[in-house]
Amino acid sequence: MPVWQMYLVHFQDYDLDTVHQICRTPKDLIVRWARDSGTIKPAAIHNGEGVTHYFHMTPNGRAAAMVLIITGNVGKFGTGQHTWAGNYKAGTWTATPWSGAGLSVHTGEDPFNITLDPNAHGKEIKTRSYYYGEEVGYWNHGDTALIVNTPKYGRKVFTGKTHMPTPSKLRWVVNVNVLNNAKHHYDMVRNVDPNIECLITQDIEMTSDVNHNDIAFACNSWMEFTYPEMTVTVSNPWVQIWKGGIRPLYDTRNDLDTFAGVAAKLSDMTGDKRMRDYFAMVYANRVDVYAQRMLDASSTFYGYSADVMLKSEKGWMVMVRTYPRHPFWEETNESKPMWTRTGRYENYRIEPEAIEYGENFISHREGPEATPYLPNAIFTTNPYCRPDDYGIPITAQHHDDKTVRNIKLSWHEIMRHSNPLWEKGYQFYCVTPKTRHRVHSQWSVNDWVQIYESNFGDPYRMDKRTPGVGEHQIHINPQAAKDRGINDGDYVYVDGNPVDRPYRGWKPSDPYYKVARLMIRAKYNPSYPYHVTMAKHAPYVSTAKSVKGHETRPDGRAIAIDTGYQSNFRYGAQQSFTRNWLMPMHQTDSLPGKHAVAWKFKWGYQVDHHAINTVPKECLIRITKAEDGGIGARGPWEPVRTGFTPGQENEFMIKWLKGGHIKIKV
């Protein structure tokens, strides 16, 4: 049966009433959206990056792409499905037969055959990679792969061979504050990192990663780079060539200097000069040579001179193939095939894993934890969808069991099953999108950022409980809060699944539990449906020392007593209630795709492209009142006493919201 015939069968489950029940979108708007998608040309879907951070990002992305594929909205200007990811940039330095090895001339130069001639052309560089990629998501999963003892098959490994991680011996991260941003943060600190022999980080700020590591290198910010640099994002049509900025404000070094320094030391210790040779141009302050080699060897840039661009008075931006940059432009407008088995867009997945996991078709799946219904259920009755549940019972609650259990059911059946966690009172979803005020997790404790970041920014800190000049907050529907005795501005406790959060093995009597349990300000926001809350992503977490700081300092600031690290919280963090989830469909050995930096197929693991490259926001939380919001925990937070605040409007405010204080005589 042709794929589209099978989809006609598949779609029979997805009638308007059922779709409306699943996604809660009003029916008339669903119909309107469908009609608009089919009639507006060109049409694009901009879904933001946050959506891709959920467990079922794969079916979600495939579904959006399918709508655009069948309406002819791919590869033409003004069309496409777009997120705003900042990574996936390596492909811009693509290797081609006529240019050379692309980005690999720098990242994959053969360490046994190093080119030391600064005038060598990029094409002359010998490449041979001895490294392979491995996802940090496994570290976040207790430093293990996804292995489940199944009733049907016994021990089953769901992590593909091409993805298989090795136990972490050493972690060295650059400018990413990875520990701060890790789901299940306190479990990482408590149960995982103690087993890693050496932790190294390099950063431009005093982050919690710096606080928890053995070694921290203080590095130059972009503004202070003294070496040339090139960068681009996957959605940006311009590659920027940057010659370096202001003199470093502090005694700091470029990121590259740390690696070069360690390599030099290793050469000194072993007498093998090749480690030093690998960074030869760094010691000679000729990093431009490496830039030139990468320009020479990639299709976008060959023929450009790094020297001309770096010495020029003007800033240089080199355009990629198209402006505006457009994914799949070449596949749609030229004769290039897609990097798929058929060379065409594929809406059906024939990989054995996809069939086993019930994802050969695009179906809706409930979250493995964040659902009131049956976790991870597949909504379909399509006979061509044939998932394997591995004999795992429908009542199983272990996170890995729920992760791999594939059960297909009708929507009515899915709703009939309750998630036990929901029944226990964990009835709020918590979404954690990025904030507009920081750069990912950077500048979280910059004064002006803290002031703008929430309802509680106050440079004079009238309420001495405030951890800095501002603090983090959780948005909550006013009625949901009122039903739990929580007023706008109150401090609340937020708890995740008690089985393993905030960390495995926690006890109420454990002093670290007090550090790890999230206490945060509640903010009334009628934008949020009753069961949905929101706390922004990646504020600086509480550490044992920042807690000691605010509990002992006369000014009450949450500052680590030794390093001066400033937290955005009094207790815990937004990662207190999250944990890691390893999506099986992201770990196959059979999915084809383009090699990240070359024109060739790669099956299975592909760094950033087919990998556990995100750790989903997937949790239910419980919220209980901790303290009054008024200064010094006395009475309600001051603004709510006005009668002008959301959910507590007085008569005048209600009239004002309706525009009732102006009349128009027509």
Binding site: T92, S299, E331, D458, W656
Partner: protein, 429 residues
């Protein structure tokens, strides 16, 4: 008290000083529909003028989420409440009189802050925000109303397990549940409340460009300006014991920034705008005190010809020189309370823009130099559709912007241009 003519109100009104006008007037148009509240403007302003001791609570430029946000907290609700107490139910616009050049929005028959002030023995009605009210500059960011909830009681079943499908959505032309961002700097009003209030006559309006300044030597910190500016843009500084306010980056307006070679340049907050929502210029003032007819001036065209941009709280009577393209999704009643009775026309014009308006809108943030004149080179028709039942045709026209000396400083076309490099530059991801 003398009477002055306020064209935004379509009538004369009380003001403590005789009517006098500058040669040019600093003015701006903010397109609310494009703002994402990134606060780059706020940070540009803060890092230029407001980083010193005693200025911690000061944000001459701020962006607040309406309707609950405000800096200082709830200033506009409070001013509305104060006037309402003096003139209950009397804030009325009469649009029966029709639209005239001297009264484009009809005639306001209610009380301004000066009218209301006269009733209570003050130059203008107002209040001094407490220190607590200057806290939380970004209070209620991204916080929407729940209008249905206000009427019916909050629908608890909205997302509950029992009846998850009892949700209704919002769609244009009006979103019942809404918020939007309001970008604010000093409005450099024609009839400033702060200037009217100052017992020391320390506040003045520059004859060359209408920028309102506080003389730091004359000011004694009585805070009357803080009290009687309804927009709350003068701010008291404890360390110097005098008040400060937005200075419209006047060295730039004067062309003193080396970047523009003597030509007037837009302010820091305007030039830094990432969302391209801001445009600023100087308006030539005619002998009658109104803006002189200037058909090919982009702001004159937007404000006086198309009337797509409207003053903020015109009923307060200060004749503010900041104008806003109102949020197209806002409930109209709320928007009229904020921008006057011209809201319906402005939103209609913006939703289905005329060929010329669409071209002129491309000039927003196309140049750091102040644009004084525009011209349009016609291009081909590239698109047509229906928007809310109205026919819309798009032409790929090119708009040109000229600086004060008449030199071209901007050239933008309506459609984003497309460039394709040769095949050997292939990406093929």
């Amino acid at each position: 008290m003398p009477e002055v003519y306020n064209w935004q109100l379509g009538r004369k009104m009380l003001y403590p000083y005789e009517e006098r006008h500058p040669k040019w007037q600093f003015a701006f148009v903010f397109n609310i529909n494009r703002c994402l509240a990134c606060q780059t403007c706020s940070m540009a302003d803060k890092s230029t003028w407001l980083f010193s001791k005693g200025q911690e609570y000061m944000w001459w430029n701020n962006v607040e989420t309406k309707p609950y946000g405000g800096y200082p907290q709830f200033y506009d609700v409070k001013i509305t409440q104060l006037i309402e107490q003096v003139n209950p139910g009397g804030q009325v616009w009469n649009v029966r009189v029709g639209r005239k050049h001297h009264a484009p929005y009809g005639v306001f028959e209610g009380m301004t802050i000066f009218d209301a002030g006269a009733k209570v023995g003050q130059a203008a009605i107002g209040y001094i925000p407490t220190d607590q009210e200057w806290r939380f500059v970004n209070i209620y960011e991204d916080t929407a109303t729940s209008m249905r909830a206000l009427v019916e009681g909050i629908d608890k079943t909205g997302f509950s397990k029992e009846e998850p499908w009892k949700m209704t959505g919002s769609s244009l032309p009006e979103h019942e549940t809404f918020f939007f961002y309001l970008q604010r700097i000093c409005n450099h009003c024609t009839y400033p409340g702060c200037l009217a209030a100052c017992p020391r006559k320390a506040i003045y309006k520059r004859p060359e460009d209408g920028i309102v300044l506080i003389d730091q030597n004359r000011c004694r910190g009585y805070k009357k300006c803080v009290e009687q500016c309804p927009y709350k843009k003068p701010m008291y500084r404890g360390t110097t014991r005098v008040s400060e306010k937005c200075i419209a980056c006047y060295p730039r307006i004067e062309g003193k920034d080396p970047l523009t070679g003597g030509e007037p340049m837009e302010t820091r907050c305007m030039a830094a705008c990432v969302g391209k929502i801001r445009m600023q210029s100087l308006m030539r003032i005619g002998e009658d005190g109104l803006w002189a007819e200037d058909r090919w001036h982009p702001l004159y065209y937007a404000i006086r010809v198309e009337q797509v941009a409207l003053p903020l709280y015109p009923q307060w009577g200060t004749e503010p020189n900041g104008y806003y393209i109102p949020p197209r999704h806002s409930p109209r009643g709320y928007a009229r309370q904020m921008f006057g009775p011209g809201v319906d026309n402005a939103i209609e014009k913006y939703l289905v823009p005329s060929r010329e308006l669409l071209a002129v809108l491309q000039l927003w943030r196309a140049s750091q130099q102040i644009v004084f004149r525009y011209d349009v080179i016609p291009g081909p028709k590239v698109f047509e559709t229906q928007i809310h039942g109205k026919r819309f045709e798009m032409y790929n026209d090119t708009v040109l912007g000229f600086n004060k000396s008449g030199k071209e400083v901007a050239r933008v076309q309506v459609e984003e241009p497309i460039y394709i490099r040769p095949a050997e530059r292939v990406t093929w991801l």
